[in-house]
Structure formats: structure tokens, C-alpha cells
């Protein structure tokens, strides 16, 4: 630390104030409030009249069938999306990791769905999944028909709706994770790859024994981020199926939103939101731990 940096310390409050004030008002304060409300019987219309209710809301969540369904759906969605999207993104990254312009173009193609906003894609895929009706059908049924697959009512079948939304989400997000993997691939030691090639290792062996181990942290990071994003699912089921059919696509966030604005039970909604936060925090902590072990 030099003298001028100490002298500049006097200006620090002015530099910090705008951002810190905004964070305090719009992030920290709402968080503290949600924490307090989650232990009260606060309702939507008059939260200021909240009375302390202990852990009632949390106990209530444990017996709340709708919340549990939403929790289960969200977990299932993550279980469908995370492995498929991570593996797909990894192989796409290996596939396009070449210098020629054609591969750069292909990289761009895989990234296009990332740039399009989620509400637009949710609406678009609803039309793509359109069931067959009087000689008309969505693009997906038409495309699968070419291969002899009978048309399905994708979003109206409780068994298919969540997987259909998961498929669309993988298609949307794979390009972004591919870019993260591409960045990680640049750090794989070239001489290790060269040595493996000289030793006659096959492409698959090089991936397994050289690339995957040296990209361990990137893989952990991608898995964590993809999991957190999967838990945050809301827009797709909300627009495509409204959580139906038969609550099969009801998401955690939608249940928090409905508990707030439909049941007007603010206390329980805040408790659910904090359970969700604990989940995300736990995942982040796990990622840091796993990544740290690598360095030590």
C-alpha cells in the first residue's frame, strides 16, 4: 500500500455510497424483512401487523402438499437438465474447439438460443410442441413424423410435460455452458495431450484421462451453476403450462409467487423463499469446497 492509496481513502465513502446504499435498500433490507416475516403470520395486505409465530411457517411447509409437489418437480427438473446439459455442452465444446472460421460460426449457432429471452422461447416452444389437431400440428411432431414417431400431446400429458420443458431448457442453455467449457479447454496443458497422443491413447482415453481431470474445477463450476439455474426455473412452466397438467410442472418459484399473491400468505411465502435460498447457498458452498480440495 502506498501513500497515495491511503490518501485516497478519504474519497472512498463517495465512491462506495451509491452502490452500497442501493444494495442496502434493495437487497439487504428485503432479505432481513423476508427473514423476519418467515417467522410471523404476515399477510399480503398488512405485513406491518405481523405477529411472531415461531417456526409455524416452516412446519407448515413440511405439511404443505402443493409446496412439496413444487419442490419435487424442481428437483426432478434439475435431475433431468443438469446431467444432459453438462454432458452435451462438454462435447459441443470439444467438437467446436478448432481454429477454422467454420467452427467459429458453429460456435455462434449453438450460442444463439442463449441470446433470445426466455419468455419468447417459452411461447415459441409452446407452438413447436403443439399437439396434432385436424391435420395441423407443431413443428416437433412434424419433424418426428418423418422418422415414424407418432404425434404426442407434449405439454398436455402429465408424464411428458416436465421432460418436454427440460428438453427445451437444455437446448436454450447448452450454448452458454459450452462457452465456459471452451474457456476451460484452453487451460488444458498442451504437452500432456501431446504426450498422451504419442503414447497412442485414443481420443476417448485422452478425454477421460487428460482433459476431464485437468478441467475438474470448470466441470464443478458448470454443474453448480446449471443446478442453481435449474432450481430457479419459473418462466417456462408458468407460460407454457401454468404449472399443469395436474401440477406436474409446478415450480418452486411459482408456488412462492402464488402463496404471496393468491393465498396472500406472506409469512409462508417468505419461509419457502428462504428454504430455496438455503438450497442455493448449500450448493455454492459445496462447489467452493470441491474446487478448493483440488488446489490443496
Amino acid at each position: 500500500m502506498t501513500a497515495w492509496q491511503r490518501k485516497r481513502g478519504r474519497a472512498a465513502p463517495w465512491f462506495l455510497l451509491p452502490a452500497c446504499a442501493l444494495l442496502a435498500v434493495f437487497v439487504v433490507w428485503p432479505l432481513l424483512r423476508a427473514g423476519w416475516w418467515s417467522f410471523t403470520n404476515a399477510d399480503l395486505l398488512s405485513p406491518e401487523r405481523a405477529e411472531f409465530a415461531g417456526a409455524d411457517n416452516y412446519a407448515g411447509l413440511a405439511g404443505d402438499a402443493r409446496f412439496q409437489r413444487a419442490f419435487g418437480n424442481t428437483l426432478l427438473f434439475a435431475l433431468l437438465v443438469v446431467p444432459v446439459q453438462t454432458v452435451l455442452a462438454f462435447f459441443l465444446a470439444l467438437w467446436v474447439n478448432r481454429p477454422e472460421p467454420a467452427w467459429r460460426w458453429l460456435r455462434g449457432v449453438f450460442f444463439v438460443p442463449v441470446v433470445v429471452s426466455m419468455p419468447v422461447l417459452a411461447v415459441l416452444w409452446t407452438l413447436l410442441y403443439q399437439p396434432e389437431q385436424g391435420g395441423e400440428t407443431g413443428l416437433l411432431n412434424a419433424a418426428l413424423g418423418v422418422f415414424g414417431v407418432p404425434p404426442q400431446a407434449w405439454l398436455r400429458d402429465p408424464a411428458l410435460a416436465l421432460p418436454a420443458i427440460a428438453f427445451m431448457s437444455v437446448w436454450q442453455g447448452a450454448g452458454l455452458q459450452m462457452m465456459v467449457f471452451l474457456a476451460g479447454l484452453q487451460n488444458v496443458p498442451k504437452e500432456l495431450l501431446e504426450a498422451a497422443r504419442i503414447d497412442g491413447a485414443s481420443g476417448w482415453q485422452r478425454v477421460r484421462h487428460v482433459i476431464v481431470p485437468s478441467m475438474r474445477n470448470t466441470i464443478i463450476f458448470v454443474v453448480t451453476v446449471t443446478t442453481i439455474l435449474a432450481f430457479r426455473i419459473f418462466v417456462q412452466p408458468y407460460l407454457m403450462t401454468r404449472g399443469g397438467p395436474g401440477n406436474s410442472t409446478l415450480s418452486l418459484i411459482q408456488s412462492v409467487y402464488e402463496t404471496t399473491f393468491v393465498s396472500q400468505d406472506l409469512g409462508r411465502a417468505c419461509a419457502a423463499a428462504l428454504v430455496f435460498l438455503a438450497l442455493v447457498g448449500g450448493l455454492t458452498w459445496l462447489q467452493r469446497r470441491l474446487a478448493r480440495e483440488e488446489r490443496e
Binding site: 500500500m1 502506498t2 492509496q5 485516497r8 481513502g9 474519497a11 465513502p13 465512491f15 462506495l16 451509491p18 452502490a19 452500497c20 434493495f26 437487497v27 428485503p30 432479505l31 424483512r33 423476508a34 416475516w37 444463439v112 438460443p113 442463449v114 441470446v115 433470445v116 429471452s117 426466455m118 419468455p119 419468447v120 411461447v123 416452444w125 409452446t126 407452438l127 403443439q130 389437431q133 391435420g135 395441423e136 400440428t137 413443428l139 419433424a143 437446448w171 450454448g175 465456459v180 474457456a183 476451460g184 487451460n187 478441467m215 474445477n217 463450476f221 442453481i228 419459473f234 418462466v235 408458468y238 407460460l239 418459484i253 409467487y257 404471496t260 406472506l266 423463499a273 430455496f276 442455493v280
Partner: protein, 274 residues
């Protein structure tokens, strides 16, 4: 032989990723009755093309207004946000003051907070501050809560730290104050990082849905995503109009993205997280 297989595979993959969006654009130009006619002959003929969906959607969903709102919202978040976050990041990177490490650790802790967790209590905070009323108030409600971002402060601080300190020291020798040192010297030297932050926020907020759904309830404050959702859910449902609206909601963000792409740094987020 092997090369041909690679090309075929690449082509197939590109088709899977592009086909839905190509279909969106083409179908938005089709007459209502022909959108879901999937017979090969019925789709690429000379008949049934129209621009009517665009005119309809523009009128029915008041898209002009919605697009202006969305551009204003994203510009305000990206612009003002960039400014306040860069200011704080710079102080954390270069100034020495009591409690610096402690305060910065507090900011970093906020990085993992998903907006969905905060949406409900934030709604009350916005309401208490009068950010939900008329047009100006709601535009404030759409933007002000998202200007300061913990991740951006963290990210920009990293980039300020990686800039050699010599330039700024020279400015100090020349008698530049803290402000000039930040504005004229440090800020221009991290342009790629600034562009990256702008692009990430642009993509995130252009697609905002949950928050505008809660806060921009009046017709004149609707963002383009809310207009789209309304066309999609409120009868009479016109597929052509919905598709046209989807295209119009997508074009600006593609244009902005292409424009900013040149300045982006590769964010190597997967490594070195302490």
C-alpha cells in the same frame, strides 16, 4: 470420409439449434390458417405470406410503447448500474480505508442471492418507496432496484486489480484527483470488462419477467415480454400475432448483442474462484 461425417453431424446439430428460431421468423410471416399446416408442399409455396401479423401485433399489444419501455429499462439498468458498480469496484481495488476487507466480503456474500428469493420482499420495499404508482414511478421500480449488483462489483474489481498501477500513479503525480484518476485513467483501461458487464445485464434484463409481472401492471408501463405474455394468454389467441411479437421482442437484443460482442472479454469464470 471422416471429414464428410463431421460435416453432416455439424450440419444436423446446427439445424437442431437454429430450426426453432428459423421457424419462428418464417411462421410469423404466414397467414393464420397456414401456420400449423405442416405438409411439405403447403409450407414453402408462393402463397400465404403476409406482413399482417406485424401490423396486428403492433396495434393490439401497443408494441411501440412496450419496446420503448423495455429499451429505456435496460438502458437505465446497464448505464446507471455500470457507473455505480464501477465506482464501488474501483474504491475496493485501489483505495485504502478502514473496514475495506470486511465490507467487500459482505458484498461478495450477496452474489449468490437469486432475484427470485428477493422478489416478494423487494416488492414491498418498492411499494413503500412509492415505486409502483404512475408511469415514472413504475419505470423507477423496474430499474432502480437492479442497478447495484454485487457480482458486477466483484467482477469489475478483479479487472481494476489486473491493470498496472503505474498509469494511475502518473496521473496522481500530475495532480489528478480521485475522480479524474478513476474517470480518465482507470475506467478506459478496462473497457472490455465494462462491455462484458453491459452484455450480461442486457441479456438478463431484456428477458425480465417475474419482476415486471409484479410491478408493471399498468398498460402504459408494460415491457415487451409482458405484452407478449398477454397476447399469448388473453383471447382471442392469434398465433401469427404472437409470433410477430416474439420476433420483434428478439430483434433488438440480437442487434445490441452483435454490436457489443466485439468488446467482450472471455470470462474465465470456472477457475481461480477464491
Amino acid at each position: 470420409m471422416k471429414k464428410t461425417a463431421a460435416w453432416i453431424l455439424s450440419g444436423a446439430a446446427a439445424l437442431v439449434f437454429l430450426a426453432p428460431l428459423l421457424w419462428m421468423v418464417l411462421a410469423s410471416l404466414r397467414e393464420e390458417s397456414r401456420i400449423f399446416q405442416m405438409s411439405p408442399g403447403g409450407w414453402l409455396g408462393a402463397e400465404g405470406w403476409t406482413l399482417g401479423n406485424y401490423a396486428d401485433a403492433w396495434r393490439r399489444a401497443a408494441l411501440g410503447r412496450a419496446l420503448v419501455n423495455t429499451v429505456a429499462q435496460v438502458a437505465a439498468i446497464c448505464g446507471a448500474g455500470l457507473f455505480v458498480n464501477a465506482l464501488a469496484a474501483y474504491a475496493f481495488a485501489r483505495f485504502e480505508f478502514r473496514g475495506r476487507e470486511w465490507l467487500f466480503a459482505g458484498v461478495v456474500m450477496l452474489v449468490i442471492l437469486p432475484v427470485e428469493v428477493l422478489a416478494v420482499p423487494m416488492f414491498f420495499t418498492a411499494r413503500d418507496l412509492g415505486l409502483t404508482g404512475g408511469y415514472a414511478a413504475a419505470m423507477g421500480g423496474l430499474t432502480v432496484p437492479f442497478m447495484a449488483k454485487a457480482f458486477n462489483i466483484y467482477f469489475l474489481r478483479q479487472h481494476f486489480l489486473s491493470v498496472p498501477v503505474a498509469l494511475e500513479e502518473a496521473a496522481v503525480m500530475d495532480g489528478a484527483g480521485a475522480w479524474r484518476q478513476f474517470w480518465n485513467v482507470a475506467l478506459p483501461s478496462i473497457k472490455p470488462a465494462l462491455a462484458t458487464v453491459v452484455v450480461l445485464d442486457l441479456l438478463a434484463h431484456w428477458g425480465d419477467f417475474l419482476w415486471p409481472l409484479m410491478i408493471a401492471t399498468r398498460e402504459e408501463t408494460r415491457t415487451v415480454q409482458i405484452s407478449l405474455a398477454n397476447l399469448f394468454t388473453q383471447p382471442p389467441v392469434q398465433w401469427g400475432d404472437i409470433l410477430a411479437c416474439a420476433v420483434l421482442a428478439t430483434l433488438p437484443v440480437i442487434v445490441f448483442f452483435r454490436w457489443f460482442q466485439r468488446y467482450i472479454v472471455a470470462t474465465d469464470t470456472g477457475t481461480g474462484i477464491k
